[in-house]
């Protein structure tokens, strides 16, 4: 034991000495040693690593682009395949935590050594949900569009080009398609658990419209009434254990003119009536115009029904913080007195 402890201490010390030393002082070597799969880090003044700091995407329209990023280092094409070579930018000087690079040079790296393939995996979860894992190493921080059953929403993949998201689905098998602005896309189909035992109601829309789906769960005994809103979405787990529905909000509000989906799912209702209210926040920005919204309904005996509705915004006044939109969604009648 004592010998093992000593060995462990020695190895740990060695790793710290070599590893940290390499990281701090020879950052370029750290990356250089992996030229077969180039690491692409985000060019960001917040970053402590300047060496080999390479922006992952050049789409200036995407909100993922930070305003203080080094514009000169944003060179990676959004669609890498047809490009003959990446023009990488590196610091002439060795990077350090405290020193920002001042002059730049270029370096050619063979793109054939970079695996840009888009990979998807979908894991069926209880309650007719899918855990979708997306790996898109060449679309770091890019906006991704996820489509299922005629509905679409946007998210932003992380700085590794990855995202994991749980989606309440509307068909079995569930086909999910993901795509990026450059046309890269892939779809996956997977069987679904428990779809026939639940009901779903939702809305989908796009653009700069601030909508919120609220569900009022009404019980025979009014002291058991509950409101499900963005402030109280209730988790799937709590819904499963304690009854009632839960709200899933999909879409990233950082995406300009993004697409959004909000779905209320209920499997074991405590309520007998579920009234849905769609609230339009800040309606004055749409005054005199209108917007489109899709009303989504799933039940085992109906399948998925999507109706599109165009709403005109009238009667604006300065003190309108929000307005309740009528007739967008119908109440869910779970049980009725007989």
């Amino acid at each position: 034991m004592r010998l093992n402890d000593k060995a462990l201490t020695f190895i740990t010390g060695l790793i710290l000495l070599l590893g940290v030393g390499t990281f701090v002082h020879k950052g370029d070597e750290l990356f250089a040693s992996k030229t077969s799969t180039p690491q692409i880090a985000k060019a960001d003044t917040d970053s402590t690593i300047r060496t080999d700091a390479i922006a992952s995407h050049s789409n200036k329209n995407t909100p993922a682009q930070r305003p203080n990023a080094f514009a000169s280092v944003v060179v990676t094409p959004s669609k890498p395949a047809p490009i003959s070579g990446f023009e990488l930018v590196r610091s002439v000087e060795t990077a350090s935590v405290s020193t920002a690079p001042e002059t730049f040079g270029t370096l050619k790296i063979d793109p054939t050594q970079m695996d840009c393939s888009l990979s998807l995996s979908a894991k069926p979860l209880r309650g007719a949900r899918i855990q979708l894992d997306v790996k898109a190493p060449c679309h770091r921080n890019n906006v991704i569009t996820i489509a299922h059953a005629g509905l679409r929403f946007n998210e932003i993949v992380d700085d590794k080009g990855e995202i994991t998201i749980t989606i309440p689905v509307l068909s079995d098998p569930a086909k999910i398609e993901v795509s990026f602005a450059d046309g890269a896309s892939k779809s996956i189909s997977t069987p679904v658990k428990d779809l026939s035992s639940l009901q779903r109601t939702g809305i989908a829309w796009s653009g700069r419209v601030n909508l919120q789906l609220n569900a009022d769960e009404q019980a025979f005994n009014s002291s058991h009434n509950k409101q499900i809103t963005k402030l109280n979405t209730r988790s799937y787990k709590r819904s499963y254990l304690q009854g009632g529905g839960y709200l899933t909000m999909l879409g990233n509000s950082d995406v300009e003119n993004g697409k959004f989906v909000q779905i209320y799912s209920v499997e074991n209702p405590n309520a007998v009536f579920i009234d849905f209210v769609v609230v339009l926040e800040n309606p004055n920005q749409l005054c005199g115009t209108g917007f489109s919204i899709s009303a989504v309904r799933y039940a085992a005996n109906l399948g998925t029904q999507i109706t599109s509705k165009n709403v005109s915004v009238k009667n604006c006044s300065a003190d309108n913080q929000s307005i309740v939109l009528k007739n967008i969604l119908r109440s869910l009648i779970v049980a009725q007195r007989n």
Binding site: Q218, A219, F220, N221, S222, V272, F273, L302, Q305, T307, S308, K309, N310, V311, S312, K314, L325, K326, N327, R330, I333, Q336, R337, N338
Partner: protein, 507 residues
């Protein structure tokens, strides 16, 4: 689908005053090799009317192409329709039915909401063929109805008692789509379990203001009523309950809000309709003679509950646009009836209710034996009904005629569909007539059996193909042996003149 539409051409009696087209045309199916050659006599509402060797035929223009010099130039085959009526009925009942019908065609539906009371719907097939452009205007007062009916291509959704609906039938065609009822509602926590008609009148006149006078706690009754100008207030008045006198009541424009208020107030008493009952508790209303009928889907659909009324479509069109024709046909089918039930309205579908759930009926039958019906008659009736299930199809005739009232025609259609589907093929079907107590007991028994016989003829008359030849149908009449309602009003007496349908396992 198009081929079947083409093959389901209907022979028509043409007495139209529309543009007359002359000349031979060839109508070719867009999906098959079927061709029809004939003289084009008319083109209207997306329908070609042609004179052929087979007689006059109507052909859906969406399913064919027209060749010939007389073919009309068609800009759009979309049916253009206006819908008027009560906002809640349109949004809660009619639009969901339109959506469901559109989905059944595989079509998309797009609604444009301009204001709370004005919207439009476009129904388009997946291949972008526009089927219908529907404009909707809600909240039209009934006194404008006559004017609206004169408008072209208009459909109105209305509510009214059986009597109102019969009167409306004189104006234009009427199609009942759902039943409903006036109900007195309280919170689930309220201990009062029923109300007499007399007590209701006294509450509405302000003579009773405290729950203790009704057997409840010592607390004021908070009365919630529909707005005086609403359609329900009008129906309530027609049924003998005047809601305009009680000035201390809270009035609601929205009946759902009324039910919510009553459901959450332990001392609340609301008057609303069954379709907006939501989580409130509906109290049975006791008749003056002691008749006690629970407000339930079965009792409302069958018209047995005292304060039943109907939601119906009315249109004056002899030749409605093709989409509306097909939509009206869809409304008679099981998918539409299921949708109506799902939306919380008792449809005129066939529901079942066993004798074991009808204790009040047995009590009432036994009580009437003290008058003129021999106890042996009640005994015979209960022996027949023992182990049987009553269907919600309860049929009534217009007084003094052999014509069914509109809601009974719809209910009989639903029953015949069930029989054709073979859902009661292994059962004995009993058609049983009943009457009111007025008149001679023996004559009433004879009349009740004659009414049952008439219904039997109507069912057999619908069976031209002999599908029901093996169905065991027993025709019976028990006269005044089993009244449903007190006969202190003409409406109550009329409820007791009826034909019921029961089914029983064959021995």
């Amino acid at each position: 689908m198009y081929l079947s539409r083409l093959l389901s051409l209907t022979l028509a009696l043409a007495t139209f005053s529309h543009a007359v087209w002359a000349g031979q045309v060839t109508l070719k199916s867009t999906t098959s090799s079927v061709e029809l050659v004939g003289e084009l006599t008319r083109f209207d509402q997306g329908i070609y009317t042609i004179e052929t060797d087979l007689g006059e035929l109507e052909v859906d223009a969406r399913t064919v192409t027209c060749d010939g010099a007389s073919c009309p130039e068609i800009e759009s085959l979309a049916s253009k329709v206006s819908i008027y009526g009560n906002r809640v009925l349109i949004n809660k009942l009619l639009v969901p039915l339109l959506e469901n019908y559109s989905f059944s065609l595989g079509a998309d539906i797009e609604t444009s909401i301009e204001t709370d009371d004005k919207s439009s719907i476009k129904i388009t097939t997946k291949d972008k063929q526009r089927l219908a452009d529907i404009s909707i205007k809600t909240g039209i007062r009934s006194d404008l109805d006559a004017g609206i009916l004169a408008l072209k291509d208009t459909l109105i959704i209305k509510s009214g008692s059986a009597k109102t609906m019969e009167n409306a039938k004189k104006q234009a065609s009427v199609m009942p789509i759902a039943a409903d009822a006036l109900v007195a509602v309280t919170s689930d926590t309220n201990s009062v379990r029923s109300l007499s008609q007399g007590a209701l009148h006294r509450i509405l006149s302000g003579a009773i203001v405290n729950w203790k006078d009704l057997g409840g706690p010592d607390a004021n009754i908070n009365v919630y009523l529909p707005k005086e100008t609403s359609g329900l207030a009008k129906i309530t008045k027609e049924m003998g309950f005047d809601t305009s006198k009680l000035k201390t009541a809270t009035h609601f424009d929205d009946l759902e809000e009324l039910a919510k208020a009553a459901a959450s107030d332990p001392y609340g008493l609301g008057f609303t309709n069954f379709s907006n009952l939501r989580t409130a508790k509906a109290l049975p209303i006791l008749g003056r003679c002691g008749a006690f009928i629970q407000p339930s889907v079965f009792n409302i659909s069958s018209g047995s509950y005292p304060a039943v009324y109907y939601h119906y479509l009315q249109n004056s069109l002899k030749n409605p646009p093709i989409f509306i024709r097909e939509f009206l046909s869809y409304l008679s089918g099981a998918p539409a009836r299921e949708m109506i039930d799902r939306r919380g309205y008792p449809s005129l579908s066939v529901f079942e209710n066993g004798l074991e759930n009808q204790g009040n009926r047995i009590v009432h039958s036994l009580l009437t034996t003290s008058k003129s019906v021999p106890i042996t008659e009640v005994h015979t009736m209960l022996s027949m009904l023992n182990g049987a299930r009553q269907l919600s199809t309860v049929l009534r005739f217009t007084t003094g005629t052999e014509a069914l009232v509109p809601q009974s025609s719809t209910a009989l259609e639903a029953l015949i569909s069930e029989l054709f589907l073979g859902n009661y093929a292994d059962q004995a079907v009993m058609i049983i007539g009943f009457t009111e107590s007025k008149g001679n007991t023996r004559e009433n028994k004879r009349l009740s059996k004659a009414s049952a016989q008439l219904v039997s003829h109507l069912i057999k008359g619908a069976d031209s193909s002999g599908q029901l030849a093996n169905l065991q149908i027993d025709v019976l009449g028990f006269g005044e042996a089993s009244p449903l309602a007190c006969e202190d009003t003409p409406e109550g007496a009329a409820k007791n003149n009826r034909v019921e349908i029961w089914v029983k396992d064959k021995p």
